[in-house]
Symmetry: D2
Subunit: 378 residues, 4 copies
């Protein structure tokens, strides 16, 4: 694995490295960790990389690695830069024959997104988008329960993602994470909706197997002088007639990272909360609610394949994130070996999920900007 | 107290009787428990009432009681009939000089509502509406914390009220509660939004001290052949600029009575859930969340005045309901004694809350019926 | 109902009155609320009693009421005094033909206990002890599940009752509740173990249907100068070979009233916590844990008969307490009518539970006082 | 790192590998993964090791690696075999100059334990014991809060460790984990108390800073034919006069891995549960309970140094386990660099913790075997 971005002080770069390392299937062999060459080398040292594989730019990295013999060169590129810097390295990596793991949202705008999709299709390379919340075992279980009609046809979905960390104008205090996320030049046209709303959208569609067909959004900026939405709520209509609500907020003071989804069908409901991820509440009409738990009882193979340790030994965010990397690794290994990967592992967010997310951002901003039009199709 | 409705088999009538009895301040002295005179008498026997005070109709009750000497006749009328039968007895009681405790929503439509308001104002009588959820100690605490600016200006309110009991077409099975609630002739123009959405609206405005200024609603009927909404979501804008979401659903399979509210201000957030009512979560920017509990530590007098027993001895729905009756009793006693009631007790939902609820129903239905207009002012 | 004790400022007296009033089956008709005659009358006024039925002592009350005609005199006596004052009125009430509801523990020592048992047996009168925690619907459910072998033979019981309110020397601050409970002359030979340990013992035996056969106790006084145990732990052996732990503590700072029991059988386990009493966790070997809830799904008739309102409308401490009074009322009514009471209602703690509790106190103190003998039979 | 044990199908070996890999500071370079040489090589292939560093035995591994040049040979040995096979490789590793990370309990009996302690002291090498539960950030926070007297002098400790997985005679079904853990020849003289009771003991002493001074144990075997305790409870006395209870059970049907500790001081109490490890409840006398959370607010540096990602992104068992490895790596790196390691990192369970655990096992078994002697000093 070669990494673009994620030098010292970056949050998500470290997450990607730990996630990639956890299962002993992926080795970080090179990186362009910073646009500052000296800092790239410094960062590489932290990871015990030789200096000559700490590149001054993603371009140099991809060019140089391309020329290394197979088996020696990196197998894929991990892109962990701010949103506006996803597209250039992703494009170049694909064009140079490297698989890609890319942080979400896919890129800066829909034009880039479609270009990436074309490239993935034309090259046939693996492209994974780290909508990491789909990596949790209990999310897999929820998806399979709905797919197998355990709760009946879905009628209602409520997905919420409140955070509180942007309750003050953090971007004015040179907080790096806040700075780029609230900057339309680096983040794109949406703020909270792009950063975390897309996770909520992705999770709702992933678990339910449905598609959002129309939205009605109210976006707001609560902090004076902020440039992108920090809070928003959306009425949802799904392609099967189900209704729902999605909201994403970064000014919900006192909330940490409280992604939560509830899906109700004709016979029962499911509830999953990211902050207690090893529990899936399964609610029934006139029967006791069940607490499905990672590792307990008969779960779907899709759930069990994404857990590592026995029940009651909590697995968390990094393990879910690692599931994406592990699955990518399995797919790459299978390709190298000319084999089919087992179906349970051939499951990670793709460029299509990325396209869907960019579309969601477009439509949410369109709807949020209108005080007149009620429903925007999606 | 004389009761209209609430004979054998009624749900809310029994709740009112228990709530009224709990504190030993109110005695049930008569009733018109059923429109069937024989059944009214039978029901009255269950409550150890003499036959001659079990009336065949509210009219006879109010007339007859009016002629009894003071001190012997009922002091107030409790109305626990389906919505379409709130207005007639309420009107007559007020016109006959009796205070009124009325179940919610206030009445059938806005015209009736305004007439009741006029009567309450012209007679100066006490009129209480049993939006019982405002009776919980931790709801009082939340309201006082916001009033005293403990969490800063409110930015976001999420209030949700999912139930699952109408997930099937219960009204077709002669279930009495389902039958009238889904019947527009008895329930009014809204279903779930009238039955429980008004509780959510009332709670949000009561705790926050704000008013909803505009709404954008999506109402839906999920059960074929049902006549009123059984599920709906609303985007909210408040008069101070706060944003939010309200939803009420009776097809959220597996949910019991899961009213929950979260209010976020500049400095922190509050979370209260009716099903675990003795806890108020108080969340802070960068400080540990606190679990305020009924009876623990320094709470506002308004909270303490509505709890009866020491911390850790859970008080529930009936106790909160009883707080409304107890406060009404205190107010009536104070009037009889020519005294002022203590301020902490002069707090129960009024005819104005009822007007507000009826207005909410009107506007929600108006918004829900439109696929074009986005925002309806309220 | 006539009440002994429970005048202004008393905690448990008010609880008994609310519990008795809730269901409209019991009327407070007289009382000896205080050993101070003037205060007894004052207290009686609070409850709207005529002065001539506010007696200066329990003796006068029982004598005077005995002479009233049937139908006019009280039907039973409720005793809510400190422990050392349970026996005299209970004895006299029984000897005078009155049924008795008595607060727990039964009395001051075993001698009194045995005398009461003899009297209950010889008179055939109803005697109820308010081990109120057995009144919760989910406690009934747990008991029935074990009785019907749903979790298999019981192997392990953990029952704990931590409180924190005696973490400081409250009895030195003239706090009435603390003063008598820490005074061996009024409380008896045990402190925390008598006050709340007996509840834990009673609950464990009630739910499990087992009897504790041997104990090994460590009692301690953490507050200098306190005269009775404020903290203690006990190893338990049950008559079927099950093992377990019981502890009761009033110096567990920050705990409210955290009675909790877990019972494990061959096939599963049950967990119930008094502070969230409408939930019963049912855990299974290799199957998801179930959350049984008051009012949800198919519960035993014994559970349903002790709930009043639909699922999700929390019932609490007073409702559970009221279940004892309601059952007593049903039993008295049945006797008066010469009928059998329905079996589900013929269930409240009896004088035998009281004897068992006094025996428990004796044995715990015996074991706690010994640093040598390991096991004390019980 | 070279590993002893932990071949295909082993549970704890995989945990150690993931924990070691997570932070990119430790590389698995060799192993003796199985006593079967072919299987050792096969296992090594899974980890991408060259065949010549997959050794047929720990002896060959240590001998061979000793002869490799510094920088090339392993830096330390990780021992993940069943208990009876801890001592031989640990001894040889230490004698050969290798640091050691060893699974718990330390070894088979006290004699071995003391020998290891002598070797650690004489060689000055680093020896870490994976009492992994001490690696959680909130455990560090709890320890520091008590050390800084935030809750006052400790009065009561309740530590419990229920599991249910040995509720049936799993060892008869050739379940590898069950087989050795219930076999006195491989596990030692204690069953549940050795396997998980030692974790509970270690955690209680680690957080409280106290030592258990006397115990009174009741051990039991619930499954016919099982050879070691599967359930036990212990009364505890601590060296400062605090009292408490410890229990460990593997027949608590339906429990996963429910290690939980509550510590009460004069001013407040702490509660931490392993299955929800990012929350530390801090309870106060007459103030609201606080939920301390990993990453939220001002925590002790010792807590923050053991968390990797922002609040609300749950870290779990593997991350806590990895903290021990990361700290060992930091200590080894510091030694190699001739520097002092930062104090917050110089914290992992040592051979002394191991000695303490072996002593605990000895004394618990002694006490558990006696029906006469009440207190056994420890």
């Amino acid at each position: 694995m070669g990494m673009v971005g994620g030098g010292r002080g970056a949050f998500i770069g470290a997450v990607h490295r730990m996630a990639a390392a956890l299962d002993g299937q992926i080795e970080l062999v090179c990186g362009a960790f910073s646009s500052n060459p000296a800092r790239s080398i410094e960062s590489g040292k932290d990871f015990y990389l030789p200096e000559d594989r700490c590149y001054p730019s993603y371009k140099v990295m991809i060019e140089t690695e391309s020329e290394l013999p197979e088996g020696e060169r990196m197998d894929f590129v991990a892109i962990v830069t701010p949103n506006h810097m996803h597209f250039p390295p992703a494009k170049m990596a694909l064009e140079s024959g490297f698989h890609v793991v890319c942080d979400k949202p896919l890129c800066f705008d829909m034009e880039e997104a479609l270009e990436l999709k074309r490239l993935v299709e034309s090259t046939g390379l693996i492209f994974a988008l780290t909508h990491n919340y789909t990596g949790y075992p209990m999310v897999k279980q929820a998806r399979m329960m709905i797919r197998n009609n355990e709760i009946g046809a879905v009628r209602r979905i409520v997905v919420e993602y409140p955070q509180g960390w942007l309750s003050t104008k953090l971007e004015a205090e040179e907080q790096k994470q806040a700075a780029w996320r609230t900057d339309p030049k680096r983040s794109g046209k949406a703020g909270a909706m792009g950063d975390i709303g897309t996770h909520a959208e992705n999770l709702a569609e992933y678990i339910s197997g449905l598609q959002i067909s129309a939205i009605c959004a109210d976006l707001h900026i609560h902090i004076d002088g902020r440039l992108l939405d920090d809070d928003g709520s959306i009425l949802l209509r799904f392609n099967n007639g189900a209704r729902g609500v999605l909201y994403a907020s970064q000014i919900s003071a006192g909330e940490e990272n409280a992604l939560r989804i509830r899906i109700y069908g004709e016979k029962g409901g499911l509830e999953w909360a990211q902050m207690e991820p090893n529990t899936l509440l399964v609610k029934w009409l006139d029967k006791p609610t069940q607490m499905y738990r990672t590792g307990v009882g008969e779960l779907y193979p899709e759930a069990n394949a994404h857990a590592r340790i026995p029940a009651g030994h909590p697995e968390g965010y990094l393990e879910a994130f690692a599931n994406i990397y592990r699955n990518v690794a399995k797919c790459i290994q299978a390709r190298l070996a000319g084999e089919e990967v087992e179906e349970v592992y051939a499951d990670f967010p793709s460029v299509d999920d990325g396209i869907r997310g960019m579309h969601f951002i477009d439509k949410v901003v369109e709807s949020g900007n209108s005080n007149d039009v009620k429903w925007v199709e999606m």
